[in-house]
């Protein structure tokens, strides 16, 4: 019996030596978490009278409220944005920067430049080209498809239609009448924002989304 315990002791000792041999934890370097992370979100709309932009700090915890960044210099294609008073921000228009000077046309390239605490944030979007001509024939609305179009949305009398990938839309089941028709073509950045969970699209130096859309709208009679 004495020999049995001796053998077991030696066996267990060997096992512990093996465990000690391999069980040194690997040190994984931690990221620098001190830098403040900011988020920018803007969809430039061709032809719109105002362009908007949202600039906030990253929300770290669930339930935290937004912390708007107002002390920055924001410009697109050299046209500066101005901060909106916080009491004017509402859920229907949640942006905190606006400009009325910037006129955007379909097919244009727009560059964002933001100066914030000695950091430069850049962004770029290619505004989708024009949707025209738009035709209504055989219960289908069709429009011009261009490689710069990465997705569309259609609304009839503010009744929004989900994001679609094709350059046509069936209206067979809409009752006859006069409708306010709006078609929007989105750029690649916006399409990526819908299909991926990436935290930074169209931007360098910040999280968020910098995208654009080209809009066609008119009143149409459906028969």
């Amino acid at each position: 019996m004495h020999g049995y315990y001796e053998k077991s002791f030696l066996f267990i000792l060997s096992v512990f030596l093996l465990v000690g041999w391999v069980s040194c934890e690997t040190r994984i370097p931690a990221r620098d978490a001190t830098a403040e992370r900011v988020a920018i979100s803007s969809i430039l709309i061709a032809g719109a009278s105002e362009q908007h932009l949202l600039m906030t700090a990253i929300v770290k915890n669930i339930g935290d409220s937004l912390r708007y960044v107002q002390d920055a210099h924001v410009e697109v294609n050299g046209f500066p944005f101005t901060p909106i008073s916080l009491d004017r921000i509402n859920p229907q228009n949640p942006h905190n920067w606006v400009t009325t000077d910037l006129k955007i046309e379909c097919g244009q390239i727009c560059s964002l430049r933001v100066l914030y605490k000695e950091r430069i944030i850049r962004g770029q979007t290619i505004v989708p080209s024009s949707l025209e001509p738009v035709t209504i024939k055989n219960d289908t609305i069709r429009w011009h498809h261009d490689p710069s179009h990465f997705g569309y949305s259609v609304s009839l009398n503010e009744a929004h239609v989900s994001h679609i990938g094709e350059a046509y839309f069936g209206i067979r089941y809409f009752p006859p009448g006069r409708y306010r028709l709006q078609i929007r073509a989105y750029d690649q950045n916006y399409e990526r924002a819908l299909t991926t969970a990436s935290g930074s699209i169209g931007l360098e130096g910040a999280y968020g989304l910098f995208a654009s859309a080209c809009v066609w709208q008119d009143s149409v009679d459906l028969r």
Partner: protein
């Protein structure tokens, strides 16, 4: 002196003289044989595989004599002249008896017929100095596979997860992670054919029917030299051959029913097994609808063309059918509206084997295909994926006393065809098929692999055996990979052995999807460069009294090259490195009323891609697992499988990015979760207990067995995944407010099942 006493003395003298003369003559006759015992030699082999059986017990009936075979199945026995009855016995085989007469000195060739062990508990192969045992491997018989409680049907993958060094990402995903390796690093071979994605029920359940299997052999480290091209492990399954006198068998469980038929004839036999789930049929009979079922079937045909030549044909077919339209409500009579998803495997092989006393030469030609297909008229979702593998292997095994060699060559040609298009997520079904990869993809690629292998094993003496070999693998004669294998096993005192292994593995393909639970077969893609891992291991094994064996194995696996999906055009692979290391402790008692196998594994698995260093998704540091069996008499057994391990890593959310989206009539603020440092947090610890109760009745025309199983007996809601989600709730002002929360995916609920198996 009287006269009458003289004749008496004379008679007595004459009798003594006659007796003495007889003894003298007899003695002279047998003297040359006295003190010169005759040496009988021979070898014992497996009657089916014809491989030598080491350590066979040989006894001379009605004497105290006997011996044991060596590690190559050879034995020597010294007997006095005479006629003897020799008995050959070995665990796992039917005993055999043979009458021999000595002299002369015969050379005996004995074949033992394997039998299914009726020993409760997983049968683990003990230390053997044959060419296979130099690499750690576990052998599981159909009986031991059935002992591991599983979902309705016995599942080889479930039994393998109870072995040390094996982890699964979660309950809902059967893919194995072996010693720090990813799910695509496991080689799964059935009768020489490589099977891809062998899972039913969206990864929940293995596709192999235990009734059709003869043996499952699991190599958690270096695989046999004839198989390769995977970095981490090999699961080698061998289907049943028809046996003399073996009965057919049927099995009915809550999940599926199966039937095994076998027929043996003079020079061959056939085994076929079919299994199908029937919940869809039951639901239909009850007036309800369930649009899902699967089936699998096995075929094994053998024919001896001559005493030396044997031909074998094997087939394996399995298919899952999913028809969401049937499940979700009104079934349409319009065939254009019918949506059917199918996925599965088609595999067949033709094998020709030539066996002599010392050599086995085998040629095998096989074809295996794994596919996923959506056949429906709805253009929004279309899938037509398949990976086919045409392969050929020729190998020669040669054995002589203490020395064994194996050499061979192989060639494989793969075709990877992928075509899928998904316009939108249809009721979440898109998540089942390749979440997180492009909505549209069309590609066909081909890959050819060639190579050879050679290995030499030498039993130097009763205490030392060594093995050296190499495997050569190349892709279209480009990028030649030379993979060494070295092993040594030393017997030291106290019934203890030490085993040292060194080797390298290579891999030419990788999954094109990040793993999630509940997904059909992941697309597999050829790589333009080889993945490679270098493996060291050191094992100690000791036999203790009471049929208890202890083992401990430390391993270090250096990933010289591993891949992951990159950011570029799909499938863009990034290449990095990494390492995995750990210790597997294992204690086993395989005989008696109380049997158990219990293990503890410590492991660490780290990937390095550029500056990014992170633990892998399957880096589970501490694992305790056990399978405990209790026998109540000879006909009833209870098995409890228990698992507890530390939580798997996950990537926490470090923040949320507010993004404004354009919804036509207005702006809406959405939140995109921002991933934190990769795998820097861990899920809560995992615990689970399953039980299985079996009762067997022996009848003259076969056995009947009733079994009852409960999975997750403790009803523990193990958290398998966190999913950051956004929920919109209407506010009092009429606007919609979004708030963020972490949704959890939990593991299996409490799942009881019952079934019956009977022979006929």
């Amino acid at each position: 002196m009287s006269s009458s006493s003289v004749p008496k003395l004379h008679v007595t003298a004459r009798r003594l003289l006659r007796a003495g003369l007889f003894l003298l003559l007899y003695g002279c006759a047998i003297f040359p044989l006295q003190g010169q015992t005759i040496e009988i030699t021979g070898q014992v082999r497996d009657a089916i595989s014809l491989l030598p059986i080491p350590g066979v017990n040989i006894s001379v009936v009605a004497t105290h004599k006997g011996t044991a075979g060596d590690q190559t199945g050879n034995f020597r026995l010294h007997l006095d002249p005479g006629i003897y009855l020799l008995r050959f016995q070995h665990i796992g085989y039917f005993p055999a008896e043979i009458t021999v007469q000595v002299p002369p000195a015969p050379r005996l060739e004995i074949a033992l017929k394997p039998r299914i062990l009726v020993i409760p508990g997983v049968m683990i192969e003990s230390t053997r100095l044959n060419k296979d045992s130099l690499a750690t491997n576990f052998v599981l018989t159909p009986r031991s596979l059935a002992n591991a409680p599983a979902l309705g049907e016995a599942d080889p993958f479930r039994a393998v997860t109870l072995l040390p060094g094996v982890a699964t990402a979660n309950d809902l995903k059967g893919e194995l992670h072996v010693r720090g390796g990813s799910a695509d690093e496991n080689l799964i071979i059935l009768d020489g054919m490589e099977i891809q994605n062998p899972f039913h029920l969206l990864g929940l359940f293995g596709t192999f029917n235990v009734e059709a299997l003869q043996e499952v052999r699991f190599y958690p480290g270096l695989s046999p030299v004839m198989y390769g091209d995977r970095l981490s492990s090999a699961l080698i399954l061998r289907s049943k051959s028809a046996e003399e006198g073996a009965r057919s068998k049927a099995n009915v469980s809550l999940l599926a029913s199966s039937i095994l038929l076998q027929r043996k004839w003079n020079h061959g036999g056939v085994m076929t097994a079919v299994r199908r789930t029937y919940l869809d049929l039951v639901a239909r009979a009850l007036g309800s609808r369930l649009g899902y079922y699967f089936y699998d079937s096995n075929l094994h045909l053998t024919q001896n063309l001559s005493p030396a030549w044997q031909l074998a044909v094997v087939g394996f077919f399995n298919t899952d059918h999913l028809n969401p339209e049937q499940t979700e409500g009104e079934i349409s009579n319009d065939p254009d509206q019918d949506k059917r998803y199918r996925w599965g495997n088609r595999a067949a092989a033709l094998s020709l084997t030539h066996t002599t006393k010392k050599t086995i030469w085998q040629n095998q030609l096989s074809f295996a295909k794994n596919y996923v297909r959506f056949a429906g008229a709805d253009a929004n979702l279309h899938i037509d994926n398949q990976v086919s593998d045409l392969s050929w292997r020729s190998q020669m095994e040669w054995q002589q006393e203490g020395l064994a060699a194996i050499a061979g060559i192989f060639g494989r040609h793969f075709t990877f065809h992928y075509a899928w298009q998904s316009e939108e997520n249809e009721d979440g079904l898109e998540d089942i098929f390749y979440q997180g990869i492009p909505h549209a993809f069309h590609d066909t690629r081909r890959q050819s692999l060639f190579g050879g292998f050679f290995e030499l094993s030498q039993t130097i003496n009763s205490r030392l055996a060594v093995r050296a070999g190499t495997r050569i693998s190349t892709m279209a004669f480009d990028n030649l990979q030379l993979l060494p294998r070295l092993s040594a096993q030393i017997q030291i005192p106290w019934n203890t052995s030490l085993r040292i292994n060194y080797g390298e593995n290579v891999q030419w393909q990788a999954f094109g999807r990040e793993g999630i639970e509940g997904a059909v077969g992941s697309p597999l893609f050829p790589l333009h460069r080889a993945l490679r891992a270098r493996i060291w291991s050191l094992a100690i094994e000791q036999d203790l009294p009471g049929h208890i064996s202890l083992s401990a194995e430390a391993y270090h696996k250096k990933f010289l090259s591993v891949s992951r999906l990159g950011e570029g055009d799909y499938p863009s692979f990034e290449f990095g490195g990494g390492k995995a290391r750990g210790v597997d402790l294992f204690v086993l008692r395989e005989r008696g009323r109380l049997t158990f196998q219990a293990g503890y594994s410590w492991s660490e698995s780290i990937y390095t891609f550029g500056q990014e260093i992170y633990p892998t998704d399957w880096d589970i540091r501490h694992q305790f697992k056990g399978l405990f069996g209790f026998s109540f008499g000879k006909s009833m057994s209870l098995h409890i499988a228990a698992q507890a391990h530390s939580g798997a890593p996950y990537t926490p959310v470090s923040g949320y990015v507010p993004i404004i989206r354009d919804f036509g009539q207005g702006w809406q603020l959405c939140w995109v979760p921002l991933p934190g440092q990769r795998n820097s947090d861990r899920l809560p610890k995992y615990m689970r207990a399953d039980i299985s109760l079996r009762k067997r009745w022996t009848r003259t025309n076969g056995n009947t067995e009733l079994y009852f199983q409960v999975l997750n007996l403790l009803f523990r809601r193990n958290i398998l995944r966190y999913n950051p989600k956004i929920r919109s709730i209407p506010s009092a002002s009429g606007s919609t407010r979004q708030y963020l929360y972490l949704e959890t995916t939990t593991g299996l609920p409490l799942l009881p099942s019952i079934g019956i198996a009977f022979e006929f």
